[in-house]
Symmetry: C2
Subunit: 613 residues, 2 copies
């Protein structure tokens, strides 16, 4: 009898195992279909549906089929539930992978004819980033906080109304739950919009503002969500508990700073390891180390009760700026391609999964009033974020953010993978299930409708497209030198933050963490000499003369000239391998702050070398 039972249980396990394989297979097929569709769309230059939108659509259709065509079997629904559990519960593999590569998510399309222009574009973007840093930080920190509170307040109003008409019990949904929903819905993900911006060469300032906001905003929203979820007022959860509130604010700051420190530390360790070992003789080992240490940053942060995504984001930024420069050329390419591929796959996996979740998740709660409220709240909150903050920022900005840019930023508040991932993390209670359903609908709606409407919107708002970065830069430089004969003033006004950071980075961080930069013996005080000599790379002494970092601190005129000359240099760079095929995505892990630096360096040192010869 017992034996029989054992056999049956083995059979059952087998069935589950096979069921699992079938499900993964279905998922694989969805991805394969997505890939083929992406090709079709790219080939026909359809812009109204981004690949992520397509992935979601296939997921949706397949979810529909799974839900309504194979409903009969008990095993099925059990497995689907388990599948959901698997993802939402302990094994956050799916989401981890996404987080893991989020740092490398933001990409640009390179077109064949514009490789030199691209160099300019990257450097231009660095300037644009630092020039707009104040605005970006304002949108990302203050804006996200505003968005969270506004959504929380509006949702609290709707919840009160729902309690009033009897759809909800008073004690089911507290104000903190509303704030929780507000924080997770504040993570914007304009990946679709940015892809189109890039393809159409939309104004660089607008691109930089949106790009910078979306990167940091994710980090803020994640930490905010986490802080709110551990906020526990001592007594009545509906009264305002000042102590608990300030503790929450403290938590937020602590977690943010901690995650930042954790991520950067791992990057620094990797940089030092790759600098001081001769690991570059074995490219595979370098790539392995790069990958494992980035992942360790995520895991360490999670294990320490911080947020892994934020840690890995900052780890990635730092890695791209320092570590990447220490790698061998072979390993650079391998590492870049590995992360590109993981990003590509993870992005499609998560959007496919979102579509699938709409029909296969078993505990959806579709509450029309709540959903309506959420849509209203999300749009009002975005408006309260963009318009007032821009008004304030414009008071201090030399180059005002124009009306049509503001509208475009308002329009670009798509919700995506992060909002979904935060919502699916906890779907135990009914309020959380309601939030998850609503979040999913908002993601679907914004990705499809707003993502698809980007190009028409650009036209309607008369936003400049087809901007040639070279021309843009020259025109700007010309107009500035015309209106401001005193160049130093311009520089001081537009990039003082940049200069401070640059100087510190150039004098201390780069020489310590990489082989580039001036020798530490010249930049550190004399009594540090023994340490300085130890840390300075032998190759740094030789680099002193041809130090091409200087192009960042020269003024605009010189910068333009510098472009002119560098544009005719023989270029082997990260974009090189794409020229045979004309198109490819390049990761921009460092917010445009690092990668292209190395390309110049490489060009300068090995002007004619074929890296494969």
């Amino acid at each position: 009898m017992e034996k029989l039972k054992k056999y049956v249980s083995v059979k059952d396990e087998d069935q589950f195992y096979h069921q699992g394989a079938v499900e993964l297979l279905v998922f694989n097929f969805l991805l394969i279909l997505t890939i083929l569709t992406i090709w079709l769309f790219k080939n026909h230059r359809f812009r109204f549906l981004h690949e992520t939108g397509g992935a979601m659509l296939y997921g949706l259709v397949m979810g529909l089929i799974i839900q309504y065509a194979t409903k009969t079997s008990d095993v099925e629904s059990g497995t689907v539930y388990e599948c959901e559990k698997l993802k939402s519960g302990r094994s956050t593999l799916l989401i981890n992978i996404t987080n893991q590569v989020y740092e490398y998510q933001y990409k640009r399309e390179i077109s064949h004819h514009n490789v030199n222009g691209h160099q300019g574009n990257a450097m231009l973007q660095k300037r644009h980033f630092f020039r707009n840093l104040g605005s970006i930080l304002t949108y990302a920190f203050l804006g996200t906080a505003i968005s969270c509170i506004i959504i929380g307040l509006i949702m609290y109003g709707f919840v009160k109304a729902m309690v009033h008409i009897g759809q909800l019990k008073e004690w089911e949904f507290h104000f903190t739950d509303c704030l929780f929903f507000g924080s997770l819905m504040s993570a914007t993900d304009p990946v679709t919009v940015l892809a189109i911006f890039h393809e159409l060469h939309v104004d660089t300032d607008l691109y930089t503002l949106l790009f910078g906001e979306s990167v940091l905003n994710d980090a803020v929203a994640i930490v905010l969500t986490y802080s709110i979820s551990i906020y526990s007022p001592k007594e009545n959860p509906n009264t305002f508990d000042a102590a608990a509130f300030f503790q929450s604010v403290g938590n937020f700051l602590g977690i943010f700073a901690g995650s930042f420190a954790m991520g950067s530390s791992y990057a620094i360790v990797t940089a030092l390891l790759t600098k001081f070992t001769k690991l570059h003789e074995f490219p595979m080992l370098e790539t392995g180390l790069f990958f494992l240490l980035s992942w360790s940053a995520f895991l360490s942060a999670e294990a320490a009760g911080l947020t892994g995504i934020v840690a890995v984001l900052f780890c990635g930024v730092t890695q791209a700026h320092y570590t990447y420069n220490n790698l061998s050329p072979d390993s650079k390419m391998r590492t870049k391609q590995l992360f590109e591929f993981m990003n590509f796959l993870a992005e499609n996996v998560i959007f496919c999964y979102m579509g699938l979740a709409l029909f296969t998740f078993q505990n959806h709660i579709f509450n029309p009033l709540f959903i309506f409220g959420a849509f209203v709240a999300v749009f009002v909150a975005r408006a309260c974020n963009i318009y007032p903050l821009t008004f304030l920022l414009n008071l201090g900005r030399k180059q005002k953010i124009a009306r049509n840019f503001q509208h475009m930023m308002m329009f670009s508040g798509l919700r995506g993978a992060i909002a979904f991932a935060l919502a699916i993390r906890d779907t135990e209670s009914q309020p959380k299930q309601m939030m998850f359903t609503t979040a999913l609908l908002i993601v679907l709606f914004t990705v499809w409708v707003f993502g698809g409407g980007t190009t028409p919107m650009l036209t309607w708002l008369q936003i400049r497209v087809g901007v040639d970065p070279d021309e843009d830069l020259k025109a700007e430089a010309a107009s500035q030198s015309a209106s401001n004969p005193d160049k130093n003033t311009t520089k001081a006004e537009s990039a003082w933050l940049f200069r401070i950071w640059y100087s510190f980075d150039h004098k201390y961080l780069k020489p310590i963490l990489t082989h580039a930069g001036p020798p530490l013996t010249t930049t550190l005080p004399e009594w540090c000499n023994p340490v300085a000599r130890l840390l300075t790379s032998p190759s740094a002494y030789g680099d002193q003369l041809k130090d091409d970092d200087t192009d960042y601190i020269i003024n605009n005129d010189e910068l333009t000239e510098n472009y002119e000359s560098s544009a005719h240099m023989p270029v082997w760079d990260r974009t090189g391998s794409t020229q045979a095929t004309g198109k490819e995505d390049i990761h921009e892990g460092d917010l445009g702050l690092g990668g292209y630096k190395l390309q110049l360096e490489h060009t300068a040192h090995q002007p004619q070398m074929n890296p494969l010869a």
Copy 2:
């Protein structure tokens, strides 16, 4: 009260989650340590400990620490158990990854100074493979079956003895269990030995024999294990049931053929997809498709009750021979590097995990008698496989397999990842736990002792090392043309199997599945013309004249001349990117049958092109 409970459960979940992160982190650190050690070892040219042995050692030490230093916490042991469950049970992710890349596992070290020789080496190996195909198939199929039965019989004797002295109950351990153990212990994994062989340029025939045996032997052992595990005699499990036995043999053949068909079908679909779409304009999509379809082959086979590993092995072989040639140069490099990296990581993960499992697996059963029996059985079975079969093979072979080669093959019967993976799949019952423990010990012992003893053993057996493939080939050709004036006889004798296969492949498969080969309109009968025209790639018509496949069917003299000339051609190939650093592992997914073909083609078509320019 309920609320409190909820809070507690959330806390618990959090704790588990953090615990999970900590464990993964520990694992990551092990891998990082392993990578750094590999570098140290490679740097100092230590050969006695292969990287996998190192990985295992670190796993062991860490397992020891986890087991004895942190034993107190209940949560801990619970989690460890769950971790074990996770791996052995439903979520075979770890093992799947390994399986996934097993097809690309066999690698070779390329040294800087020998790129042209390498070409020769690859082609030579193709000839060697086909010349030894009969022997390889004999060792892999017949040899593995012999090994399985011998181990089964010897273990049955030991089990009887254990029953006799009261260590085991009669009904606990049937003959089928012994056979199950025999089949899983028959999977050899001489990755360490092959790495050393390659580095030292050991005789190509010996290398090919071992390499070919180990690839196919894995497939046979896996299917054998599976067939035995589903063998269920109708009545008394200890009597011999002829019907059940023949059903098992039928199962074996069916599963093997089915897995082969499944794997090849996916590869053919991928080849056709990459041939007939213009996907190569977007390299990332190609790589994605390649990856997902290979994985789908694994999943489909598993879902259909076949064996995924075998399916993915044959899928990989076929992909490398056909699909890979359809990819864009960019995508080729990306795909190659992706699989290399996954292989590198997976190999180290599984060996690290093996070390870890020795101390962290909670249900070890160390039975000295059983372990002693298993060691005896494994060595006796290897001897019964190699010596008698070689004797029989030598009766028919022109080039006899020498005594010292036989001893070396006997010595190279290491057990590795596959044996471990098969053993850990089922650890529910006590006999299975005893088998797992024993298998683990045998793996540890053979990898360390035999792997470490390879170099001394080569010296002791006076096996030729430092063989220059070019010289080898020339000498061989000279001696053959001297002793056999009739070249056609030589060809017919040494490679008739190869010629049949080659002709079919060249005339039909290559033209259908890739852009290479003669147009189908010339090779297919006339009435097939409409289909032939549809399937033939436009570029095939142009290729007719410069079809370099011919170098395979020319005789030895011409082959040697062909080398001479090709050795001076400008080479851009898969090894190219490694020249800057001097060393790298290259995957040989196609048993040396495909990859290098493309390198010749590429050379012929684009003699001076810099792929990155």
